[in-house]
Amino acid sequence: MQTALQLVMTGLQIGSVYMLFSLGLTLIFGVMKIVNFAHGQFFTLSAMLVAVLVPWLTTRGVSLPVAFGLGALAGIAVSIVVGLLLYQFGFRYFQRDLVGSFILSIGFALLFEGVFLHYFGGAVRAVPPIIDGDVSFFGVNLTAQRLALGLVALAFTLALYWVLSATRLGKAMRAVSIDHEAAMLQGIPYKKIVFNSFAIATFLGAVAGAIMAPISVITPTVGADYLVKGFIAVVIGGLGSVPGAIVGSLFIGFLESVGGYFFDPSSANMAIFVLAMLILLLRPKGVMGNG
């Protein structure tokens, strides 16, 4: 029982980060009908800036939590600026063009990977834990850091849900994702909604990177791993579906947790890919996709 609970908690925690990441991907697909393979670079940029700024600030006398807060703010802000530049000078011209946007986003991903390697170096960076200590309940052990990460991810997911369901912006985004021409006929400012959606998606990717930095191994290619898993989560859940992204992410998290326990991490990874193929064969639109 303890083992089962431990695996559930581990799955929830891993899934919560994929959730933040894949929500960004699915939001962009829903509104712009493109798959942004450069999304992982916002995650990487934010995580790298946290990993660079936290040691830099702490050696100058800033306390660790404050340094992390400043690093995360800087990482998220820079990522959003970069994301909006990519939108303004690139993705804006490739909306609803799957092939064009695919080539463009792969190009951006490779470009940024090269730039990160050049400026940050290829070496692994690590951020010291911001919250020390472990939490134990019903025989389950978790670091307080991981628990906090899960809660933050959950809070952002709930906030996004609230934005989508209860605000004018969210309703407009949903309208655009269902039928953008009909939305425009109703007076919804399409360009503004797309711009805001891209900014929110970039923000979610950057937040995921910042909060993962203290518990992960940060390299200039770290975002690629999350991109693959996040994309599979979105495919499983259904491209463009917010609940689908959540379900898909949690599913991937559980599969990693349970597969890693009963087999090993390599087998769990393989299982994820096999599952994605099966779902594409049996339900091409994903578990909750309706497009």
């Binding site: 290829g122 290619t221 326990y261």
Partner: protein, 400 residues
């Protein structure tokens, strides 16, 4: 100045330039290709290896170069990122051999990319040094391949024997290795080494290099309740993360990370969870055995990579010195001729003692560098040398 004088000054200047150009051409350059990871978890190994290759080349140049057949040769190190994968290793091999036309590989890292490189070097008559841990790249089939650091057969048996003697209560061990050629070949030797000291291997698991999430496998390792974990070929940053997760889960046992090359990488991701970890590929430079040159290069290394110099990187330095010695003995810069004399020479290693190439009894051909095996342990956040085992074969060679 009159026109005639100006013309004379111009002619003199051209003469000086021509003489300088001629002297530059008189210096022959031998390119040393390096296939190393310059990104990902093994990046610091690659960066540091490239650095020490350059440092050794500078030292050779300062000492008058390599003197062969009345000519002076100097080394130039050219490194490319093999990303620790076979695919990138193949690209690097093609670039080094076909574009840069190197005849000597000064060092290569990672069994999978090294296999890709070796398939070309042996066919094209290129001499290759490697730090790859996989035993499959050694043997009489590969006469131009030389290993420039201790590998599992040298390290694991004494390291595991030491860990068992220091912790006699160990009855079971669990393995975790990267799922690639290095990990798979290390696992085979490690299994033999643990079983040789009467310890039962209760599980052997694999992960992909570059994995960022180790919690699930840590849960499994912790629930197995093994007395020890052996993280095999896991690089320090990834090993540190696994140990941290194990500590958070309340697991307390003996930790062995054979390929942990230094304290910094382990501590960066593992924090205090790495305390008491046994390592087999690290060197300390604050003890009485450290030489002035080691200390100096260690400072250069820390400045460049943020981590101490390690045994992988020392191998790249030693390869340059071994090449110089062998070329001068063979009086040739042809790879086959140099390979023929390499097993006959002894040379000054950065370990502060003489080194040579041997290991015919183990591998079937004398292609393994003979250097000390150094067993170290993390004590708190500091690395401490516990034992230094000199090679018996090397002692005999030096005595001869």
């Amino acid at each position: 100045m009159k026109m005639g004088n100006k013309f004379a000054v111009l002619l003199a200047a051209l003469g000086v330039v021509a003489i300088n150009a001629a002297s530059v051409h008189a210096e022959e350059i031998i390119k040393l290709g390096l296939s190393v990871p310059l990104s990902g978890a093994g990046a610091n190994w690659g960066k540091g290896s490239e650095l020490l290759c350059h440092e050794a080349a500078k030292e050779v140049k300062a000492g008058g170069g390599v003197k062969v057949g009345g000519k002076i040769y100097n080394f130039e190190c050219i490194a490319y990122d093999n990303k620790y994968t076979a695919a990138e290793g193949t690209k690097v091999a093609q670039t080094l051999l076909k574009r840069d036309n190197v005849k000597f590989i000064g060092g290569s890292l990672g069994t999978a990319p090294v296999r890709a490189l070796q398939s070309l070097t042996e066919r094209e008559g290129v001499l290759m040094f490697t730090t790859a841990w996989g035993p499959s790249i050694k043997g009489p089939k590969f006469p131009l391949t030389f290993t420039q650091m201790n590998t599992p057969s040298e390290v694991l048996f004494p390291l595991i024997k030491f860990a068992k003697e220091a912790n006699p209560s160990i009855k079971t061990v669990a393995f975790l290795n990267p799922n690639d050629a290095t990990g798979q070949e290390v696992e085979v030797v490690a299994r033999k080494a643990w079983e040789a000291v009467g310890v039962n291997v209760v599980s052997s698991d694999w992960y992909e290099r570059g994995t960022t999430e180790f919690q699930p496998i840590a849960v499994k390792l912790a629930r197995l309740k093994a007395d020890a974990v052996d993280l095999g070929a896991a690089p320090p940053a990834e090993a540190g993360r696994v140990l941290k997760e194990l500590k958070a889960l309340g697991w307390k046992g003996v930790q062995v990370v054979p390929v942990a090359t230094g304290a910094e990488g382990l501590v960066a991701t593992g924090g205090d969870a790495v305390d008491k970890t046994y390592t087999g590929a690290a060197v300390t430079f604050d003890g009485p055995t450290a030489t002035a040159r080691q200390r100096q290069l260690n400072e250069v290394m820390i400045k460049a990579t943020g981590e101490s110099m390690n045994t992988i990187q020392i191998g790249f330095y030693d390869a340059v010195i071994a090449l110089k010695t062998a070329m001068e003995k063979a009086q040739s810069v042809q790879p086959e001729a140099v390979a023929k004399v390499l097993p006959e020479i002894t040379f000054d290693s950065l370990y502060g003692s003489k080194a040579a190439f041997g290991g015919k009894q183990t591998y079937g051909s004398p292609q393994q560098i003979l250097i000390p095996v150094i067993i170290t342990q993390m004590k708190g956040l500091k690395l401490v040398e516990l034992q230094r085992i000199e090679s018996g074969e090397l002692k005999q060679r030096i005595a001869r």
